[in-house]
């Protein structure tokens, strides 16, 4: 480790933090410069991360410790190894592009400086999360990204819906933090240290019960952050934030922290097959449920939110069954195409003056051709068409479940791929195909009557279109090409890059079918999904009668889907309401009628005290004060006199 590498690491970590502070402090004076400053800080971090590539991939990575110590075993340091490097590159690289895009997207917002301060703070928090070399540092990053997400979901804090969504996201995320805290107790209790290196060194010798407990606690954290069932309900609501936030935090980076957590703690998961079974199953269930809900959404950002949840389900499934390279690869490719999809949706929303409902869109391939190209390529990538990045990563995950002996998960993953193809093409056909429906009244489209909301942006942005288009263009390159790193399976650059971490873990069971056959099966299912979407929304007769068809679909939508399988209602019934009832009972009955009444009785029962009490209650303040002072003086005098008398 050289001194310059150390300085680079500290700089790339702290730069976004100081930039956030500067932007936050100078605030209104900065205006347009806030975006430039914020973007420059993140992109400079990206350059530094690239410069550290060689050091990070060397054996042992770049490990700086100790920076700070709290107590025995509580020592903090930084670690940059291949796994954290993947995340750092995406956080600063894709994050930097999203910063650039935001210069255009947020140009007309009067709180643009606050926006960039939050965004930079988020990048710092996320870097803390992935660069920490210990559990508590991880938790610090974990909590800070949660609060950054809270700020950004509630960025337009005068909107009650945004405030409610922010609260929900925050509380569920704290529930996850608490899971991570319990994992820290267990692992510190068992190993006497919070450092990864110490914990992993002793992982093999720990009792299996301890490992399973720690894994489950870690997974609660992962599920809350990565929106896995049953802690997923906050993510669709989080779309209340500005669209670049959805792209950066609620698609590309923060929500994949759970994937990082599991990939980082691979030594623990490898030692606990039950935990792997649990994680893989939850991932598959989430992927499937979210895909089903994706078919029932009208808001373009909620469609993408459910697709994010579903794709993270794939990643969790991958790292859960032990196919770490594949799971992390899917994170890597997903970051490109999902950011691109969200930013493309942002272009559409921008062009239509905050319209997000695809029923009010239609025919946009002509109105916003660039956004159409971006969304179309993103769709091809996410559904896994060969030649696009999603194909390589998703197939690797799907086949990985089979290689590690989970045929049921494999089936769920294949079915989900088909549904994904269906709902993504549904969105493309309804929003970009046919004719523009912006002038059609809400009622004819089966939409609820809406309050006319005040426009968040002025009608014209002051920034040329290319400010928003160039970042999207760069992401298009990534969402096509990122997967090529993995061509060649175990001999590919990707697998070799991560070999120092996962080289030992190999497939446990010979898969019953070859990888090629598996790919063909998935492809067939995907084509079937696209075909169904085309038949329902894409044919000439479907587009001709689009208004009536969409209205019919909206009115016939099953309640179980519009209520997202009633998870919200269940949480409300099981947790929120009992806690409030208990609070009302304590405040309204126990405190006044039990405790206070008891104390009063005790006071009155001591007869003399009671008498004295009444006699003293003369209501004269001076009298009370005099009494206290006099008693104190008497006491002191007695002590002094007896002391003086010896």
């Amino acid at each position: 480790m050289t001194g310059s590498a150390l300085v680079s690491l500290l700089t790339l970590w702290m730069l976004p933090f100081f930039s956030a502070i500067v932007i936050w402090a100078l605030g209104p004076q900065l205006r347009r410069a806030a975006g430039v400053l914020g973007s420059a800080a993140v992109l400079l971090s990206f350059v530094l991360a690239c410069a550290l590539f060689g050091v990070a991939t060397a054996p042992g990575g770049l490990h700086v410790t100790p920076l700070i110590g709290w107590a025995p075993g509580f020592t903090f340091g930084l670690l940059l190894d291949p796994l954290s490097l993947v995340w750092v590159l995406i956080i600063t690289g894709v994050g930097g592009l999203i910063h650039l895009y935001s210069i255009g997207y947020m140009a007309a917002d009067k709180a643009v400086a606050r926006f960039f301060a939050y965004l930079n703070f988020f990048v710092f928090a996320m870097l803390t999360l992935v660069l920490s070399d210990n559990l508590v540092g991880l938790l610090v990053g974990w909590g800070l990204v949660g609060v950054a997400s809270y700020f950004l979901i509630g960025f337009w804090f005068y909107k009650p819906s945004a405030v409610a969504a922010a609260l929900k996201a925050f509380v569920i995320n704290v529930f996850g933090d608490v899971g991570l805290m319990y994992a820290i107790f267990v692992l510190y209790g068992a190993t006497g240290s919070i450092a990864y290196a110490d914990v992993f060194a002793k992982a093999a010798s720990l009792p299996s019960g301890v490992i399973l407990t720690a894994c489950i606690a870690l997974f609660i954290a992962a599920a809350a952050k990565s929106a896995q069932v049953p802690l997923q309900t906050w993510l669709p609501d989080a779309m209340e934030g500005p669209t670049p936030v959805s792209a950066l935090i609620h698609a590309a980076t923060m929500v994949t922290a759970g994937v990082y957590l599991i990939a980082r703690f691979a030594p623990l998961w490898n030692a606990s097959p039950q935990a792997q079974e649990l994680v893989g199953t939850i991932g598959a269930v989430t992927a499937l449920l979210a895909a089903i809900l994706g078919t029932a959404q009208w808001d373009i950002k909620r469609i993408l939110a459910y697709s994010t949840m579903s794709q993270i389900g794939y990643m969790i499934m991958g790292v859960g069954v032990g196919a770490y390279e594949a799971g992390v690869l899917h994170f890597f490719t997903h970051a490109f195409f999902k950011a691109q999809l969200f930013l493309g949706a942002g272009l559409v929303i921008h062009a239509l003056h905050e319209e997000q409902d695809i029923r009010k869109m239609g025919g946009l391939r002509r109105r916003t051709p660039f956004a159409f190209v971006a969304m179309a390529i993103g769709t091809l990538a996410i559904i896994g068409v060969p030649g696009f990045s999603g194909f390589y990563s998703k197939d690797a995950v799907i086949y990985g479940t089979l290689e590690h002996g989970h045929p049921l998960l494999y089936a769920a993953a294949v079915v989900t791929a088909g549904i994904t193809a269906y709902y993504m093409f549904r969105m493309l056909f309804v929003a970009f195909g046919g004719h523009y429906r912006g002038e059609v009244p809400e009622a004819r489209l089966g939409m609820a009557q809406r309050e006319p909301s005040e426009p968040v942006h002025a009608r014209e942005g002051h920034v040329p279109d290319w400010v928003m288009q160039i970042p999207v263009g760069v992401l298009i390159v990534g969402s096509i090409g990122a997967g090529y790193l993995a061509i060649g399976g175990a001999q590919s650059p990707w697998w070799r890059f991560l070999s120092s971490l996962y080289g030992g873990a190999q497939a446990t069971a010979p898969a019953p079918i070859s990888e090629l056959l598996s790919s063909l099966i998935v492809l067939a299912i995907v084509i079937a999904g696209v075909a169904v979407a085309y038949y329902r929304y894409g044919t000439r007769s479907a587009t001709a009668s689009a208004v009536e068809r969409l209205r019919g679909e909206a009115l016939r939508m099953p309640a179980v889907l519009t209520n997202a399988f009633y998870f919200d209602a269940a949480i409300e019934l099981l947790f929120v309401r009992p806690a409030r009832r208990l609070g009302a009972l304590f405040a309204g009955f126990v405190d006044p009628a039990v405790i206070d009444a008891g104390v009063r009785d005790v006071v009155w029962l001591t007869g003399a005290a009671g008498y004295l009490f009444r006699a003293l209650q003369t209501g004269l303040v001076r009298g009370y004060a005099l009494t206290i002072v006099a008693s104190a003086a008497c006491f002191v005098a007695w002590f002094v006199l007896t002391g003086a008398a010896r």
Partner: protein, 483 residues
């Protein structure tokens, strides 16, 4: 010089009454300067030798013995100086000169509590600190609300009386009360049997009421709600820490036997308070009462930590005592600013202040985040050290149960933030200007302290090392671990 930290504020407070009423702005500034100077003095003289004047020989020896040193008292005194300075700097109440005078007396009396190295001196300052709070409650509580003053006095004076009697008994039995100087003093042989238990009962009763521990807590919400915000800040931040400080520094070292024996009961009371306070904070509408009940919850956690006798948890307890002082003072001060601007502190009537008061919103946000235990800020450092220690001491179920209120804390603290600062602006509320530069400057030390303590609590945590390493505690934690 150490004694001056105690004496100067009290004398200055009494001298305030000589100043003309018109000079109240000047008096306030001087008082804030004295408070900050007391914090600086604590920092400067932390390694200075103890100062002691013997004043009692019969029936037992006692001394006006003050000291700083590496123990927890130094950190709490430092926090007290900062909190009092900030609270005084933002004070804007009617009859300000008289209020400031009482606050200075309170500052000196509380310094006396935490710097005292003699049990009798400790007990005398313990009672002295009731006087200014009682007078402030009587003089400045909202119209027709003198009930809270009485309730405060009846509760705390009965605690104080018990403490005084127990101290006298201790002095008679042991022959001296000048015993708080070192943490490693072995328990004296003279204390045995019933006498030991009576002494402990007196001390424990006083500490339980002062903390307050459930179910002795009902004086607290009334007191905090009726005190003007600066006084509520100081009382909640520091005065209520006297009880926990007493348990850690006095009872654990002097009376380890009974401490160990009542640990199960204290676990139960601490856990009840922990959950009870959090649930109540979830539903109340009065912002100050929400903070009051959140204190009940947080202090319950510290109580649990103390009775594990685990070194990590004891260190965490000190960190959390200081952290809670900082953020509860910060919360009361910022909520006081809200009340000053909007003439109400009921959450259902507030909203949208952040739009026009970004600085106040920022200040409240930081304190709310510290209070709900955001990793990286002071509250979290205390929580994680405490709970890791509790788990390590062999109580995984208690550690797990203690996590529930952390989730509730996120809900009720964010509720306070959102109900005041976020959402649409409420049109019929009066609007005032944002925090001034001076107010921000006075508030800044609290923010810096919350950040520093969150990042590097090591020095504060280590202040409990001497206690954790004392022979009495070492055997206790060993016994606790074996159980």
């Amino acid at each position: 010089m150490i004694a001056a930290i105690v004496v100067v504020p009290i004398v200055a407070g009494l001298l305030c009454y000589l100043a003309p009423r018109r000079a109240e702005a000047l008096v306030t500034s001087v008082a804030a300067a004295i408070a900050f100077a007391s914090a600086a003095a604590v920092a400067v003289f932390r390694d200075a030798p103890d100062e002691s004047v013997r004043w009692l020989v019969q029936p037992f020896t006692a001394a006006f013995h003050f000291g700083l040193g590496p123990g927890p008292g130094t950190w709490i005194a430092l926090m007290l100086g900062l909190v009092a300075g900030c609270a005084l700097a933002v004070t804007r109440v009617p009859r300000r000169r008289d209020f400031v005078a009482q606050m200075l007396v309170l500052l000196g009396a509380m310094m006396g509590v935490f710097l005292a190295r003699d049990l009798l001196t400790f007990a005398l300052f313990w009672d002295l600190q009731l006087v200014p709070v009682f007078l402030i409650l009587v003089g400045w509580a909202p119209e027709g609300k003198s009930g809270s003053a009485w309730r405060y006095l009846v509760y705390n004076l009965s605690g104080g009386l018990a403490l005084l009697l127990a101290t006298a008994a201790y002095g008679m039995l042991v022959g001296t009360t000048d015993v708080l100087g070192s943490a490693s003093a072995p328990a004296p042989a003279a204390l045995q049997g019933a006498a030991l238990w009576w002494v402990f009962a007196g001390l424990g009763f006083a500490f339980l009421i002062k903390t307050p521990v459930w179910p002795f807590h009902t004086w607290m919400p009334d007191t905090y709600a009726d005190l003007p915000a600066p006084a509520a800040a100081v009382v909640s931040a520091v005065q209520s820490k006297g009880g926990l400080y007493g348990f850690i520094v006095i009872a654990t070292v002097l009376l380890p036997g009974p401490m160990h024996a009542i640990a199960p009961l204290m676990f139960a009371l601490g856990l009840i308070g922990l959950v009870y306070g959090a649930c109540v904070a979830l539903v109340l509408d009065d912002a100050k009462r929400v903070v009051a009940y959140s204190s009940l919850s947080h202090l319950g956690l510290i109580l649990v930590a103390i009775f594990t006798f685990n070194p990590l948890a004891l260190g965490g307890a000190i960190v959390y005592v200081v952290a809670h002082g900082l953020f509860s003072a910060g919360l009361f001060i910022t909520l006081g600013e809200v009340e000053l601007r909007e003439e109400t502190r009921f959450l259902s009537r507030l909203g949208g202040l952040g739009e026009r008061n970004p600085k106040l919103a920022g200040a409240l946000t930081i304190m709310v985040l510290a209070a709900l235990g955001l990793p990286g800020l002071a509250g979290f450092a205390g929580e994680i050290l405490i709970l890791t220690g509790v788990y390590q001491a062999g109580y995984p179920a208690i550690a797990a149960l203690s996590l529930v209120p952390i989730v509730l804390a996120a809900a009720y603290m964010v509720r306070v933030l959102q109900a005041t600062m976020h959402g649409p602006e409420i049109p019929d509320l009066p609007q005032r200007e944002d925090m001034t530069v001076l107010e921000l400057a006075a508030f800044a030390p609290l923010v810096v302290a919350v950040l520093l303590l969150g990042i590097a609590p090591g020095a504060v945590a280590r202040s409990a090392n001497a206690i954790a390493a004392s022979p009495a505690v070492a055997t206790l934690s060993l016994r606790a671990a074996r159980r």
